[in-house]
């Protein structure tokens, strides 16, 4: 009798196992999923790789005020400012960031820079694949951080 009992118990357990096997998957299909994040899904508030935003005219929002650099506790933002001219207009205001580097060796993703930004130019995107074989590759330049033009629909 005890043998039958044991078989019953195994059958009961396996029924859950085999039952779950045919349920839809709960984990994300990373890295084989679609989209730039390869199937990884994030909460809206997730603080990932920074994105430098553009305004509705496609100009850079950043005016090189250095407030993000001043707010940064790990001192990872480096900026060089330059003046916009009629022929060479980069941002909406008088000046723009000629150089804008974020050193991801040092960044702690605290979000202070985003909070400090008076023009909402710097935001946290959801990029998270920040690994490199060489530390110097972790200094991201403006071209890597900037939202491509024309601005695409926001990815969720």
């Amino acid at each position: 009798m005890s043998v039958l009992k044991d078989i019953g118990a195994i059958a009961k357990g396996m029924s859950i196992t085999f039952g779950e096997m045919f349920q839809p998957t709960v984990v994300e299909n990373y890295p084989d999923g679609p989209g730039p994040f390869k199937g990884a899904k994030f909460q809206e508030r997730f603080r990932g790789l920074h994105v430098l935003q553009r305004d509705e005219n496609g100009l850079e929002k950043c005016v090189a005020c250095f407030l993000c650099a001043a707010a940064c506790p790990s001192n990872c933002i480096y900026i060089e400012a330059a003046e916009n001219t009629e022929e060479h207009r980069i941002s909406g205001a008088e000046r723009y960031a000629k150089v804008y580097n974020i050193d991801y060796n040092r960044c702690i993703f605290c979000g202070y820079c985003v909070e400090a930004c008076p023009t909402d130019a710097i935001t946290h995107g959801h990029g998270f694949e920040l690994a490199a074989f060489n530390a110097s590759n972790l200094v991201y330049r403006k071209e890597q951080l900037l939202m491509p033009t024309p601005a695409p629909q926001l990815q969720r």
Partner: protein, 792 residues
């Protein structure tokens, strides 16, 4: 400020304070640690009472009063902070912000803006105005002055500083009431001295600097207080520096902290002309001539080449084979080291520099009475000034400003003798326009020789006026006599002797470059040792140097260049000077002369050199400099340029390669190695105090052969007149030196003195490589200022 020792006591916020009668309430409060905010009030300028920020409640007065216009009175009871006062100030800010754009993130003043600070203090952050702000495009008034009209809060500081302090009156107010606007003198642009005082004094970002514009933010820079490297006034300048790819870049110059002899004053050169430091033409590596062409080389190769040739020439020709030319822009320590190197290593007295004033004659005339040399500070308060020759407005802008302020604020009497119509004439009590060759005669006339009066009189100034001027001068006590290079040799001697017969007279001699005086004091003369010591009295120096110094006087600059052209000078060592341009020597004219040049740029002289070593400028090294009045100040490294080395290091390295022990040149390693003090626990500050004390006493260890302080010790020990207070010097103050000769100075050939003739917008070689100065010269070209200047 009123000169009055009578004290008045009053009560501010329940605190009893006292101040001299006549003091303004705002100043009295500040002196007692009570800060009253203001925009339009600025110490030293006339009162405006335009901004209404400094309102306070004074008992028994019906309304709020402006503290900037009310003098203190006995028994006055003042409330500087109350709900009522705060409310009034908040309302003022709200109205100011009514049309002030909120573009702080792009505004250059953001972070050091007085309006920003006040808004944070009084919190008028939310506006109740519905109306759109009236936007006006930004205007460029000159290469260095930009005006953003909506940001202007109409405090009129710029108008007043331009008119009252600078006596330029290039800014004014157009229209009235709400339509008031600051306007430049030429309608759409400025024609002025471009001093940038208006930009500096602007409490907001309405006036911004073309040189600093949009480059960085105030908190991003490090600030270094050092001495300006342009004219002989030795203004203190605070340089804002920022990291660049090739070292440290200087991005801003100002003196907002009012430290130093110049207060907050700087002229265009001090404020903007630091950009030669990052000029693309700067030399980045040594150049050595191979196959007739200068080619980049390693330091080793360059030093080896120099040492080999110098040693060979020394063996073959002795000291007579060398000519050494020093600089008027290097530090005292470098000049001292250069003459020590020339005299004790090369064994020659053939050493000279570009002379711009007759300092040896001046020192000789002052022999035994060093206290009669005036400091730049004496011009701030002295009741009477006699200016003979020179044009301080152009050549000594700080002196001109000090004189103007003294006349304006203290009613000093200014007497001018010149062969040209100076701008300072507007401040003068009496002005004698004499012929160009009449300075000697005028000095004779001052001495009582009436016969020359008719020779001096001309269409501008007649005999009676001259007589009246002399009469007035004779009645003056505490007169400061300041003269330019026009007065030299015998005339100078006569003048000083004449002044000595009066009590309270002081003298100042005007030389042109940043360390012209230092070069003279440090003995860059063929016939004088440091401190204007005659060659015959070389005892102390010979004992210290451990070598017998050459006895006979060497060749002066002109003779050296002639000898080099004639093929009679086998080697020449030029440090930071450009003599070949001055003497118009063409490429290839030097015969059999091994020429070594240390410079920042490939100047005319460097271009014909056999070895060129890239040198650092005065903004990139430490040391001391002496201004033309004898005030000694400390120089601190601000900028940094990869590839260049300070002249001091270069000279030591050359000597080292020649087989000379560096200790014999720079007495390093001789300091006292004392216990560094308690460095733990409650008394940890002791270590700092200990270190400071040791620096002040000159006994801290000097561990590097490139340490200028080691040389400063030696200078202080050996050079007569350089017994200054080290504590004061290292605290960043100016300390007077008193180099008075020991009697007869060497007789200098007056033809060897060539004034630099720099204007406000030129500065020798440095000016040639300053883009800012060049752009200003271009904007002013042919309008007012000649640009023919000497090349050093």
């Amino acid at each position: 400020m009123v000169e009055n020792t009578q004290l008045v006591s009053l009560t501010v916020d329940g605190k009893k304070i006292s101040a001299p009668a006549g003091t303004l309430l705002i100043d009295a409060c500040k002196a007692s640690g009570i800060e009253i905010p203001s925009f339009c009030y600025y110490p030293g300028l006339s009162l405006q009472a335009a901004c209404r920020m400094c309102v306070v409640r004074i008992d028994k007065m019906p309304k709020l009063q402006t503290a900037c216009t009310v003098p203190v009175a006995e028994g006055m009871v003042v409330t500087s902070e109350s709900d009522e006062v705060r409310q009034a100030r908040k309302a003022t800010i709200e109205i100011l912000l009514g049309n002030h754009p909120l573009d702080c993130p792009v505004c250059d003043a953001g972070g050091e803006c007085e309006l920003q600070d006040m808004t944070f203090t009084y919190g008028a952050a939310e506006s109740r105005f519905m109306e759109a702000k009236a936007h006006k495009e930004e205007q460029q008034w000159s290469p260095v002055v930009f005006f953003d009209r909506p940001r202007c809060i109409l405090c009129y500081r710029c108008v007043r500083v331009c008119g009252e302090v600078m006596d330029v009156w290039a800014l004014g107010v157009q229209n009235r009431g709400v339509n008031s606007v600051i306007a430049p003198n030429m309608g759409d642009h400025l024609e002025c001295e471009e001093c940038g005082q208006c930009i500096d004094i602007c409490p907001v970002g309405a006036l911004t600097s073309g040189a600093y514009r949009y480059k960085t933010r105030p908190w991003e820079m490090n600030h270094v207080g050092t001495v300006c490297t342009h004219c002989g006034d030795g203004c203190k300048t605070t340089l804002g520096v920022r990291r660049a790819d090739n070292g440290m870049e200087i991005v801003r110059g100002d003196n907002r902290d009012k430290s130093g002899i110049n207060g907050d004053f700087l002229c265009i050169k001090g404020r903007y002309a630091f950009d030669f430091q990052q000029h693309p033409d700067r030399l980045k590596q040594p150049l050595v001539r191979k196959d007739g062409k200068l080619k980049p080389a390693t330091w080793d190769e360059a030093f080896d080449t120099i040492a080999k040739r110098f040693n060979a020439i020394r063996e073959q020709h002795g000291g007579a084979g060398f000519g050494v030319i020093g600089s008027t822009r290097t530090t005292n320590e470098e000049n001292y080291l250069l003459q020590k190197f020339a005299r004790s290593v090369l064994g020659t007295n053939n050493i000279d520099h570009h002379r711009t004033a007759d300092y040896p004659a001046f020192a000789a005339a002052l022999a035994g009475k060093p206290e009669m040399a005036a400091s730049l500070r004496d011009f701030e308060k002295t009741p009477a000034i006699l200016l003979i020759g020179n044009d301080p407005t152009h050549q000594h802008p700080m002196l001109a400003t000090a004189i103007r302020n003294n006349v304006r604020l203290h009613g000093a009497k200014l007497f001018i003798v010149n062969h040209e119509g100076l701008k300072l004439r507007r401040q003068s009590k009496a002005y004698a326009h004499i012929p160009k060759d009449g300075y000697g005669k005028f000095i004779a006339f001052l001495g009582g020789d009436d016969a020359v009066a008719s020779a001096l009189a001309n269409g501008h100034t007649n005999r009676e006026q001259l007589m009246a001027m002399r009469e007035m001068l004779r009645g003056e006590h505490q007169l400061v006599i300041v003269f330019g290079a026009e007065v030299r040799g015998k005339d100078l001697e006569t003048l000083v002797k004449l002044g000595m017969s009066h009590t309270g007279v002081k003298f100042a001699c005007l030389g042109d470059y940043a360390n012209s005086r230092g070069a003279a004091d440090m003995g860059l003369y063929p016939d004088l040792l440091p401190g204007f010591t005659p060659l015959a009295d070389a005892g102390d120096f010979a004992a210290e140097y451990g070598a017998s110094l050459p006895k006979s006087a060497g060749m002066d600059l002109e003779k050296m260049v002639d000898a080099a052209k004639a093929g009679k000078l086998p080697a020449m060592f030029v440090v930071g000077a450009n003599p070949m341009a001055r003497y118009n020597v063409q490429l290839g004219e030097l015969k059999n002369c091994f020429l070594v040049v240390q410079d920042m740029f490939l100047t005319e002289t460097a271009a014909m050199a056999d070895v060129v070593l890239p040198a650092a400028n005065a903004y990139e090294k430490s040391g001391t400099m002496t201004n033309t009045y004898g005030d000694l100040q400390i120089v601190r490294p601000a900028g940094d340029f990869a590839g260049a080395k300070p002249d001091l290091e270069l000279i030591v390295r050359i000597a080292d390669r020649m087989g000379v022990a560096p200790q014999s040149l720079v007495p390093f390693g001789r300091g006292t190695r004392a216990d560094m003090g308690q460095s733990r626990g409650a008394q940890s500050g002791e270590a700092d105090r200990h270190a400071i004390w040791m620096v002040a006493q000159g006994i801290e260890p000097k561990v590097s052969p490139f340490d200028p302080q080691a040389l400063l010790d030696e200078i202080q020990r050996l050079v007569p007149g350089y017994g200054f207070s080290r504590l004061n010097l290292f605290a960043g103050n100016d300390v007077p030196t008193h180099t008075a000769g020991k009697g007869k100075g060497a007789h200098q050939d007056p033809e060897l003195i060539w004034p630099a003739n720099d204007t406000l917008f030129t500065s020798g070689t440095l000016g040639r490589y300053s883009n800012t100065l060049n752009s200003v010269v271009e904007a002013h070209e042919g309008k007012r200022y000649p640009t023919q200047v000497e090349t050093d």
